[in-house]
């Protein structure tokens, strides 16, 4: 679908065109899509702005429906309604023969909510530099790194993801993802591989992504699941015969060893530097490596993600008490490993 609009400016208006991709054009108003059929009131009610006003109201209405569908987790309907809202907005501009700046801005945002970056960029290109510079929202639309997760995820979940949006999303979460992978595998190269595999897994199932979901948590969950799967596969293959994989049934009675004595000259971890810092990193990695997969998983979930023991238990199909036992044991083992390691170093 191509739509011609004339700009509402003092200068000579060059004809501007918008090209919609297939996702948008399927909901062309003229073709009798849900935009028309769902809003029969359009024909017998006239708003102060006439047909253009009706279409404007319709666009807003569709955007509200889209937001509601997204809230309900129905992403396919949400994207469709956002796309329809863009079409209705363009029709409103056509009907009024002018470019209502506010409506263009809304349409650009709805296009981004639908993941249709090309259309949003078309709207952006219609704006003068001054208009973009003078509006916080246009500046945000122009800067992909300033997009909220919802826009980035919507752009990435499409059958042909927008590369710029994917780059921005990868940049935004790479640090935290790599950090988590490092904590799981405890080796830098393996962490980079796991982080990349995580992205590949996310992209292969990108149609499942929810723009209003917690993308960070989702990414970290995928990384953790991949790591767990690799541990299980290695165990099945007999490669981990020497590693201790504790039984889920195992209940442990341990003391509450939650702090570790370290002989340091600095009282604050953030002030550790150079050799002292590297030594502590090595000791911690060594101690974490001694833990079985379950213990490491529990410590990370509890202390890095802030997950409660009740939730950890639920994830494994066990009780809160069982998960508390796992946590106490993990703490106790880590403390013992770490203190022994520091003892040896002295």
């Amino acid at each position: 679908m191509r739509v011609c609009l004339s700009r509402h400016t003092q200068q000579v208006p060059p004809p501007l065109t918008l090209s919609f991709d297939r996702d948008i054009s399927r909901s062309d108003v003229a073709a009798g899509s849900r935009v028309v059929t769902g809003e029969s009131a359009m024909s017998d009610r006239t708003s102060p702005g006439g047909a253009a006003g009706d279409l404007r109201a319709l666009a807003s209405n569709l955007a509200e429906k889209a937001a509601a569908a997204r809230q309900a987790g129905d992403e396919s309907t949400a994207s469709g309604f956002f796309g329809d809202a863009v079409v209705a907005a363009v029709r409103a501009m056509e009907a009024s023969q002018e470019m209502a700046l506010e409506l263009v801005l809304h349409a650009a945002r709805w296009a981004l909510e639908a993941g249709d970056v090309a259309t949003a960029r078309s709207f952006l290109e219609m704006q003068s530099r001054e208009e973009v510079a003078g509006s916080e929202v246009w500046r945000q639309i122009a800067d992909v790194d300033a997009w909220p997760d919802a826009w980035l995820v919507a752009a990435v979940r499409r059958s042909r993801p927008d590369e710029e949006a994917l780059d921005a999303l990868a940049r935004r979460y790479w640090r935290v993802l790599f950090g988590r992978c490092q904590m799981l595998v405890l080796k830098r190269e393996a962490a980079a591989d796991l982080a990349q595999d995580t992205w590949c897994r996310v992209l292969r199932a990108r149609e499942k992504l929810l723009p209003n979901g917690n993308f960070r948590a989702y990414l970290l969950m995928i990384a953790t699941n991949l790591w767990r799967d690799s541990k299980r596969a290695a165990l099945r293959a007999g490669m981990m015969a020497s590693e201790r994989m504790s039984s889920l049934e195992e209940e442990l009675a341990v003391g509450d060893g939650v702090s570790v004595s370290l002989e340091e000259t600095l009282p604050d971890l953030s002030q550790l530097e150079g050799v002292a810092r590297d030594r502590l990193k090595q000791d911690l990695d060594f101690a974490l490596e001694q833990l079985d997969a379950l213990s490491r998983d529990v410590l990370i979930a509890r202390f890095l993600d802030g997950v409660s023991c009740a939730e950890i238990g639920r994830r494994y199909g066990r009780t809160e008490q069982t998960a508390s036992g796992w946590l106490r044991r993990a703490l106790s083992e880590l403390k013992a490993c770490l203190e022994a390691s520091r003892q040896r170093a002295r």
Binding site: A170, F178, G179, R180, M183, L203, A237, F303, L334
Partner: protein
């Protein structure tokens, strides 16, 4: 001087250290290339494997003397290992599709002993050389393979009533995980 640190603080500190020493992120183009299905990356290889099904259907079933007695329908498969492709039959032992999640258990009948811990399983349409989707199957302690995968919506609808005793509407290309 001895200082006591909470384990929680130590773990958070180590995580922050890891985040501070991060390599550059992968580029979108690279990630998208990595996620392309193998049949797009190696279309000739895929076509060659699909052609092997034709031979198998012509000759293989005729050489399966137990076929008439069996209640189930073995699924034609090609085991694609490095430099060698072997015809095989797959017995689907369990097939459950809930929503879009397919859980399947299967055994591979192949001349040589197949004890690979993991297989990459490519589902190919039974009647056309159309790749459907790909999944990873792991060897179970019982010696069969198990997979769980999200299938495309259209297939989920079409296969929702499929039972393990029915003829399966797909063929399989099996590739050992460690050779993929």
């Amino acid at each position: 001087m001895k200082t006591r640190f909470l384990v929680e603080d130590l773990i958070n500190w180590r995580s922050a250290q890891a985040e501070a020493d991060v390599p550059p992120p992968p580029r979108a183009a690279k990630l998208l290339e990595l996620t392309r299905p193998w049949w797009q990356v190696q279309p000739e290889h895929f076509q060659a494997l699909v052609r092997q099904f034709e031979t198998m259907l012509r000759v293989g079933y005729a050489m399966d003397p137990e076929r008439a007695q069996r209640q189930s329908y073995p699924v034609p498969a090609v085991l694609a290992q490095t430099n060698v492709e072997t015809n095989a039959l797959v017995d689907v032992l369990y097939f459950s599709l809930r929503g879009r999640t397919l859980r399947m258990r299967f055994a591979v009948r192949v001349a040589a002993d197949l004890r690979r811990p993991g297989l990459e399983v490519t589902f190919v349409a039974a009647e056309s050389p159309e790749p459907l989707f790909c999944a990873k199957a792991n060897l179970s302690p019982d010696g069969d393979y198990r997979l769980e995968v999200g299938v495309p919506t259209q297939l989920a609808e079409a296969w929702s009533r499929l039972r393990v005793t029915q003829r399966m509407p797909f063929r399989l290309i099996l590739r050992p995980q460690d050779e993929v």
